[in-house]
Symmetry: C2
DNA sequence: CCATAATGCTTAACACTGTTTATTTTAATG
DNA sequence: CATTAAAATAAACAGTGTTAAGCATTATGG
């Protein structure tokens, strides 16, 4: 009987409503001002209701972050498609990472600057198959292709990938802090 | 009469006691678990007492951070003294920055990864004459000397300084997250 | 059609947080 | 010793994330 499916749909629509409200609140109020109670107020429900749709605050933030990383991956894919070669693809991907970071400050902060992290401990991050991790691996893949094509000096792929990520991440952080003057 | 001075000394000794307890609690419990109430419990006083010695939580964290930056500056000075030339001095200073960061994770997080920041808004950071800022300027000075000595390509000092800081900061962040495998 | 079961939501509480005000205790001074 | 100044506190305010218990409303099986 299709009633149960309709129930399920209703449930997921409400989930979406919460996520969208959370995203909006998150962007307007910033990470530290964001609260479950405030979100509940915004959607016109009791705080406890949110917990029927999300395990806890971290779960909600995780879902939001993952959706943003999906966007980043899309953007990186576009870079790869449009680029004439692997080096340019890598270059543009790194640029799109920085753009991604600076255009979603609160989310970027939540994903990378806070503790306890929404992506759990470093070990959990490495084990769990998140979109965040997927984006990183995609960057590493690009670097590998550059090495294979002789466009980048021969070296450990993980080393170069981490150097590159360290660079763009530091860049984003500096820009978010307004240290780029 | 020297009694008032002795009062003052007592006051400062108590301040130190709070700072030391806070530092210890900070390192053992981490940034997010640190609380004024927990600190008060630790030193055997009421939370309100701390507010007779520090304006608020941010003030206390600021003082702690500044003391750590004083250490960093000392370490950088040693690098400059021991190095044979400006380039090596810069190199060693950058290394000591990373070492500084990874050996004081909770403090580093508080100083750089949280919002609201203990160093206030980016504008306030640039205006206020903090030791944090002093350390940065010292690094820039080293870079300038390298350029002057022809050891570094001629370019805008602020640009190279920010590139370097971005690099080591990203490095520390990656290491703190355990992404260095 | 109605009793039963399940669902969705809320109320109320727990255990915290930072911070302030008024009050009491403690210590120093005239 | 009484008075005054300083230090510490109790109690409250306003907020946080989270959960267990209760109350409706809705769907289902007899």
């Amino acid at each position: 009987m299709g009633l149960k499916e309709k129930k399920q749909k209703h449930r997921e629509e409400f989930r979406r409503e919460i996520i969208e409200a959370a995203k909006s609140l998150f962007n307007s109020e910033g990470y530290d001002k964001f609260s479950m109670r405030g979100l509940a107020r915004k959607i016109g429900y009791t705080p406890a209701t949110i917990y029927l749709y999300f395990r806890d605050k971290d779960d909600l933030l995780y879902v939001i972050s993952e959706e943003l990383f999906a966007q980043l991956i899309q953007s990186m894919d576009r870079c790869v498609k449009d680029a004439p070669g692997p080096l340019e693809a890598l270059r543009q991907s790194l640029i799109s990472y920085v753009e991604f970071g600076v255009s979603h400050p609160a989310h970027y902060r939540a994903a990378f600057f806070t503790n306890p992290n929404v992506y759990g401990s470093p070990e959990e991050f490495l084990e769990k198959e998140s979109l965040s991790r997927h984006a990183y691996c995609q960057g590493r893949q690009l670097a590998a292709e550059c090495i294979a094509a002789g466009k980048l000096r021969q070296m450990d792929v993980d080393v170069i990938a981490q150097i590159l990520w360290t660079g763009v991440h530091g860049m984003v952080d500096a820009l978010l802090k307004g240290l780029g003057k």
